[in-house]
Amino acid sequence: MSATRPWSGPDLGVSRSLDRGGLGCRAGEPDHGAEANRLTGMSELTRADVAHLAGLARIALSDAELDKMVGELGIILESVATVQNAPIADVAPMSHPMPLMNVARPDEVRPSLTPQAALAGAPEQDEQRFSVPRILDED
């Protein structure tokens, strides 16, 4: 039972290459300006921009997929950019339909998944743990 430490996914090199909410880690990153510069103007996504975004989203798009998506995203972006025309100058943003508060529960042991059940869907497992590919780059 030594392998019960919570495991939240592979090391994605977040501090090195990710600075956005797409993978839940936007806050507190220093190079916002640099990121913006890497992408061109609104509604004018280039193929390189989409390739960059796909990399951030961890989707290895093929060349054909990239070609198709550049055009489609351009059309969608042009349409959704109309939100900027709404009279929103002094409006407070709304992130959720109801007031959110942090919810805690009593610190009591309660039934949960057995290790076998938790691992049952794993693509690969070893010694009652999730087995994953190497997590470090070679450089």
């Binding site: 996914g9 909410g21 190079d31 972006l77 959704v80 943003p93 059940a117 693509p123």
Partner: protein, 509 residues
Amino acid sequence: MTNEIITSSAADLAARLAAGEISSVEVTQAHLDRTSAVDGAVHSYLHVDFDGALATAREIDTRRAAGEQLHPLAGVPIAVKDVMTTKGLPTTCGSRILQGWIPPYDSTVVAHLKAAGMPILGKTNMDEFAMGSSTEHSAYGPSHNPWDLERIPGGSGGGSSSVLASFQAPLATGTDTGGSIRQPAAVTGTVGTKPTYGGVSRYGLVALASSLDQAGPCARTVLDTAMLHEVMAGYDPMDSTSIDEPVPAIVEAARRADVTGLRIGIVKELTGEGFQAGVQQRFDESVQHLVDAGAEIVEVSCPSFTYALATYYLILPSEASSNLAKFDAMRYGLRVPPEDIDDPSAEQVMAATRDAGFGDEVKRRIILGTYALSSGYYDAYYGSAQKVRRLISDEFTAAFEKANVLVSPTAPTTAFKLGDKLDDPMAMYLNDIATIPANLAGIPGMSLPSGLAPEDGLPVGFQILAPAMQDQRLYAVGAALEARLLHAWGAPLLASAPDLTAVAKGTSR
């Protein structure tokens, strides 16, 4: 006998089960037989649990015979949308990335169904991760509209809408992020409710956009919808956004069907231009029925609704891009190593897996969300959308000061042909124009049939919206309208749908 069972309402089946006139095994077997006969043509199901459903039915019959006091819906079978985890049954969410995944736990909704003693017939088809309005984005092929098999059954819950309209189940579950319960109901002549946000637990639902997602009931009558709503709803400590208040008196409201003195607001921005002529005509007739039933009509204007679609297609992809990051090929689901890399890293395996496992629409929305949240563009896109969301919510609040409920057509058109909008994402998104505002504000909404459009003979949906936690108003209005329409038609709308057994012969799986 069989035919009469499958066309019965859930409320009738429940009453006859309780009276001992029929057994749950008979009811469940009749629906499974129907599935064997027609689902080869309709394709409502991704998985049918013949043995499990019958085992539950037998157990309920035994317990009933022993004199045990059971839930009113005990023994009434149900189909479950494949977005809800079911312990021991596949849950794919319509995606290849979850092909073969058997969840180790039940969603709260499914736990409620099981506790009520409802046999689960199977898992219904859906657009991948609930992204779509037609089921054409399902990795396992589209479902077909029982009114015309060449047409879409709506989406994302087209499996649940078509399973009801083809009489394979009396009840089904759905989830509604921008209309995925209501729009499928509209185009198939069935009923569906998106409850108040927080009314039904999201625990165990594969998340699309967490601030918009809400599970709800699908059925063929307003009363059946209310009865299922009651089973699904209620406070759940496993969902931090679950509302800790009693479920509104929805079944009682559906039975009373009283709209006397109720003020019904017609949303100016959700009628007229852009709505198919027959859709508008049936809407206008339904409004007149409600006036005849004693309701008052007022017109309300919500000018920011014109921005709702754009707002939604920024907020949803943003939240989805974050939610779907959990599909990382490490803990469950698909893992595909990249073909051209020796000894790939976890990151490279993740990227290759997500390319292989996600369909085009999912990739589009994840990348759009990644862009909308990126640091240089956050304020322009996601930030602006959040502000418009506030405007829309405020306009609802103002509208509900003038009216007790708001109404509109559910969808701008009747069911379109499979393939018609597949290559035009923006045209596909427009189907949700009337349903999206409710999700942005978190308020409840219902769709019920208002007739067939004269120009194409296909079902039209009537949408009712109510303030948060006033879900019972949907059922009062829905049941009142349903009763008047039923009287005018002389038979349920679905009685005029084509006979599928002839069509399905030869295509049976």
